[in-house]
């Protein structure tokens, strides 16, 4: 086993803070949506808004970090070897085969993973953020001559939330698909990933 340091300290902080905030926002968001009663609408709304601003702040830093470190390149989509990755999850994993993708410092996500994260970053997140900010400022938008129906804003925001929920479920499950059940989790906590040595 070879150990490589793939997740820097900021990256791990960003990930876990984001995880906490997104889960909190899903829980409070679906309460605001009327799916259940937990904290009460007022509390849920307040927490949701506070978490939103915290996440926006975190995001500003994360975007800055991605561009200054060049880490944004991790998400450039590629189809190379994607068939092998798909085959692994659909078949190989049940046969105890090792993952066909080898994590390196320069390319720490497998092609399927990178595409999923890119989709979150360029589709789900903007949908949630833009509709969320419109939700917070719809009166100001109306005053500025961009009258939007609150129902439409809420609809888009809800669609974003469902997509994020589905992503989260998949994401949490895929944590367990490392070479051991907890390997990925450990890597995200310590920053160090254990990579099987390339077979000759």
């Amino acid at each position: 086993m070879e150990r490589i340091y793939i997740f820097t300290r900021f990256e791990r902080f960003w990930h876990w803070a984001q995880a906490l905030l997104i889960i909190a926002m899903l829980v409070t968001g679906f309460e605001i949506h009327g799916a259940y009663k937990l904290l009460g609408f007022a509390q849920a709304g307040q927490l949701h808004t506070s978490a939103a601003w915290a996440l926006i702040t975190l995001w500003v830093f994360a975007i800055f970090w991605h561009f200054t470190t060049g880490e944004w390149r991790q998400y450039i989509p590629t189809m190379k070897n994607i068939d092998k990755v798909v085959r692994h999850y659909a078949w190989g994993i049940f046969q105890g085969e090792p993952h066909p993708f080898k994590v390196t410092r320069a390319r720490k996500h497998n092609p399927m993973q990178a595409q999923a994260y890119l989709a979150v970053k360029v589709l789900i997140n903007p949908l949630i953020w833009i509709s969320g900010l419109a939700y917070l400022y719809y009166n100001e938008l109306e005053a500025a001559g961009m009258a939007l129906n609150l129902g439409t804003i809420a609809l888009l925001h809800t669609i974003g939330a469902f997509l994020m929920l589905a992503f989260l479920i998949g994401h949490v499950y895929l944590i367990t698909t490392g070479h051991t059940v907890t390997a990925h989790l450990k890597a995200m906590i310590t920053g160090w990933d254990e990579v099987e040595e390339q077979r000759h």
Binding site: I32, G34, Y173
Partner: protein
């Protein structure tokens, strides 16, 4: 030491000089005119008009100003729909109408002697100054002409009950600004008793604490009615006939010409009144759709005085086995049946109903077609919708009832209820006679047939503003089955959702979960060792 001594001496001299400034003579600071010093008021008055005559010697324009107001004419044309309104014309579902009942009703007219159509509306001395400007609390007027009792008077005649004489000179010498008591002397008792009509106005507002009304709080802000209902030239603003449904203007500013209604919340508080609290910006965003009153008046009739919520005239007229009119009271002593009036439902701390309101009120007047088969007849239909841009969601008292109508001519009727004569319903319990008299006086046709139909009357609620801590919280509307459950045309988070998106969303999330669980299960099953 020397220097210190000099300083001390200098100090004493200055102090001495200050003491030499004479204290101003004691005076009244709340008025420039002590009416007890006026010769015109220092003699006995034999009647109300005599007092008015004295008032007019100085306040030369006062009576003519009053003549222009609906407090005097009891008549007003709604410019929006040209309906002829005012107490003289409207029909409600309380005591129904003033028409032939002026002897009782006009006790609350700001004049002397209006009992029938012969009343002189041009007379200046018939204006009653004292009913609004009394500060002594001892002024009163008797039914049957609205004259003050200048000598001990039996009232009602033949009842053996004596109303003590009042000293008009003493009252006249103590006149001042209007107060909660003077306005309340009539407005608290609308509908024939304390709190009966409005729901948000009753005697608990005479000297309320902060819990009942933050503005009128007698030991706090101590607003009088006229603090909001400012009355230039005696013409009190903020009429229920032509209310302001949505005030989109800024708070009024001194010197700035502003013709909008100065009795609205916004005329003082503006459009973004929430400054503190958890989410002031979010609360301010509500002001384009929700009236201030909707959150800030969580209940009405909060001062311990119940208001009538339902009045069923159709059961009136039942007499005791001895042939006497009956009164039934509930456990708290409130009348719930009166042979003269029928069955009542009274209630305290009532949660309002809610609806869109843009300020347009359309009354069902005498002569308008009504029909039992059309369901409930609206005494006053309120205009408003989510989409007209002029409406807010308002809290309402909805007065429901059943009242007589003419099933042949299909009109509401004006029964003659009060009076000591052969046809007054309260004396004879005969609807046909009472309605015939009333309709004749109103110059309206009556078929002779009487039936009862269900009516509703809407009262947008605006008084009894609770302390902000007691305002309606978010959770009471942002939920299914909440206070605004029936409000249409607006998306309320927590109440509304797109069911298709919900279905697809939960299915997608569920399918993802099922997919990964199945995947995991397969991994476990397939694991060797």
């Amino acid at each position: 030491m020397k220097i210190n001594l000099a300083a001390l001496l200098g100090g004493l001299l200055v102090a001495g000089a200050l003491q030499a400034v004479e204290a101003p003579a004691p005076t009244k600071l709340n008025t420039t005119a002590d009416h007890s010093k006026f010769k015109e008021l220092q003699h006995e008055f034999a009647s109300g008009p005599e007092v008015t005559k004295a008032c007019l010697t100085c306040h030369t324009e006062a009576a003519l100003q009053i003549h222009r107001t609906k407090h005097w004419t009891w008549e007003v044309i709604n410019p929006l729909n040209n309906q002829r309104l005012g107490k003289k014309n409207v029909i409600n579902n309380y005591c129904i109408s003033t028409a032939t009942n002026l002897g009782a009703c006009a006790t609350c007219h700001v004049g002397y002697g209006w009992v029938n159509s012969s009343f002189d509306f041009k007379s200046q001395v018939n204006v009653d100054c004292l009913v609004c400007h009394d500060t002594s609390g001892s002024y009163k007027k008797l039914p049957g002409g609205g004259q003050p009792p200048v000598k001990d008077t039996e009232n009602p005649p033949g009842s053996g009950k004596i109303v003590k004489a009042i000293d008009l000179a003493a009252i006249a010498q103590k006149v001042g600004k209007t107060s909660r008591d003077t306005c309340g002397a009539c407005h608290f008792f609308g509908g024939g008793g304390d709190g009966v009509k409005h729901g948000d106005m009753d005697t608990s507002l005479a000297s309320p604490d902060k819990e009942v009304d933050v503005h009128m709080d007698a030991t706090g802000l101590d607003f009088t009615c006229s603090t909001c209902h400012k009355a230039p030239a005696h013409d009190v603003v903020g009429s229920r006939y032509m209310p302001t449904g949505k005030d989109s203007g800024d708070a009024h500013m001194r010197g700035k010409v502003n013709k909008s209604n100065p009795a609205t919340c916004q005329s003082c508080h503006g459009q973004a009144p929430h400054k503190a609290g958890a989410q002031p910006a979010k609360l301010n965003q509500h002001t384009d759709k929700v009236a201030c009153q909707t959150c800030h008046i969580p209940q009405f009739a909060r001062g311990g005085v119940p208001t009538k919520m339902h009045w069923d005239w159709s059961t009136a007229g039942k007499l005791s086995p001895e042939g006497k009119p009956m009164l039934k009271t509930d456990a708290k002593g409130h009348v719930i049946y009166d042979s003269r009036k029928g069955d009542f439902v009274v209630a305290e701390n009532v949660t309002p109903e809610y609806g869109w309101f843009n300020g347009e009120v359309t009354y069902t007047l005498l002569g308008d077609t009504v029909d039992k088969s059309n369901g409930i007849t609206l005494i006053n239909a309120l205009g408003g919708s989510a989409s007209d841009g002029r409406s807010l969601i308002w809290p309402m008292k909805v007065m429901r009832g059943s009242q007589p109508y003419d099933p042949v001519n299909k009109t509401l009727v004006k029964p003659h209820v009060a009076g000591n004569d052969d046809t007054a319903f309260w004396k004879n319990f005969n609807w046909e006679k009472a309605i015939e008299t009333g309709m004749k006086a109103a110059n309206a046709p009556f078929s002779g047939k009487v039936d009862f139909l269900k009516t509703e009357m809407y009262w947008p609620i605006t008084h009894m503003v609770a302390p902000k801590e007691k305002a309606v919280g978010c959770n009471e509307c942002h939920t299914k089955g909440g206070r605004l459950d029936k409000i249409e045309g607006v998306y309320i988070p927590g109440r509304d959702a797109n069911h298709l998106v919900n279905l697809i969303g939960w299915l997608a999330a569920g399918a993802t979960l099922a997919g990964v669980l199945l995947h995991g299960l397969l991994r476990i099953v397939r694991r060797k060792n």
